[in-house]
Amino acid sequence: MNRIFAFTRRNIIELLRDPLGYIFCLGFPLIMLIIMTLVDQSIPKEAVTVFHIENLAPGVAVFGQMFVMLFTALNVSTDRSGTFLMRLYATPMTAADLTAGYIIPMLIIAEIQTVITFAAAFVISVIIGSTLSIGGMILCMLTLIPSALMFIGIGLIFGVLLNEKTAPGLCSVVISIGSFFGGIWFDAQRTGGVMLTICKCTPFFYCTRSARSAMALSFTGESFVLPLLIVVMCAAFMIALGCLSFSKKMRADLG
């Protein structure tokens, strides 16, 4: 447990001292929150509901988590590219210590990011005269924990399989696809046809759907329970696959 705590602490310090982390994990989502609120204020109220702050905030929170995936991949692939991990392999640290030490700090960062996003959304909602429900925000933040784990799992897999140059590129592709098919910037539910079918084939759609439902305090089976269940299953699968990949890579490195 001490070794996991030591590695977690090291990773948090390294992340907090990386200026890019602030730009991508905090700055970019907050800028999008402000820009889309301005867009929402400039168009007829009934036109596009997805840009209303109560729908926008959960979407932007999911968008921000995608950058946590990018930083997980970068953190793991950078450690792998040097000999730092090799040094740790020669100590009593195990694969489980190392994977836990990568996952826990990213989950903490993802949660801090979510809290800051909702705090900013609350301030914006007060400014524009559309106060957000505190209970909805708290439930939404809790609902976003499995999706954070899912993105961290994907980041771990990319970090293990790719190097520090290719991992960010592939993560950018996932961020683009995820924000599009996740329905962050448009209401996927209203599209129908092939578009909705494609959206429903990606886990990102369910991340946004369950988060928006929690925010709206709408806990029906179709809008909340089923999407959340799908996200939980995807998170469990991605984390398990990430841990397995890391463990296998470690064995191969030591082969």
Binding site: R3, R10, E14, R87, L88, T91, L254, G255
Partner: protein, 243 residues
Amino acid sequence: MLAVKTTKLTKRYKDLTAVDELDLEVKQGELFSLLGVNGAGKTTTIRMLCCLAKATSGEACVMGKSCDKDKGDVKSIVGISPQDTAVAPRLTVRENLMFMCRVYGFDKQKCVQRTGELISKFGMQKVADSRAKTLSGGWKRKLSIAMALIGEPQVLFLDEPTLGLDVLARRELWREIESLKGKLTIILTTHYMEEAEQLSDRIAIMTGGRIAALGTLSEIEKQAGVQGLENAFVAIVEGSVQK
């Protein structure tokens, strides 16, 4: 008990034999240098002795513990400073050392004490709170060696510790390495003949994954029939290639 003993230790990567039936004995407290051209098998040998690579065949023991069967025990008694300076770049010198203390499971008091000891030993007081990525090559190497010493190892592996350093930084690091002599067993790989001459109790010259010569400097010179380690090294390596 020997610090290191290998018996017909072999490592193969597909068609390449990196280490070929290596028999090696290193006594406790010795500073032992492994020399060889690139690809001679020095780093692979060190990797197997630190449990960082699995031997294809043969056996390696460190302080009587098998690198295959007693990996946990071996890892707790060895320290390694890899070829690259394997440090956490955004952590300070002190934080890097504290991190390694925690990895070895030391309590808070021992972490502070051990970190302070090593900062003092390597004269790193003025850079103790500087981030590792801002340090010069020489300081990074010192930090890397200090990190390898955190766990109070009985056997320390230094893989090309002065590679890429300027002459002053290299001499300074030699003094630090010399100060460790006798307190623990040190196995050093290097391309600098002067370094091996200056520091080693015994030297092994590896070529093609095997030991071509082994002994003190004078024994190696005698075997090669020439004066100076560099001349002896060239004669032995070229002779072995011609064979």
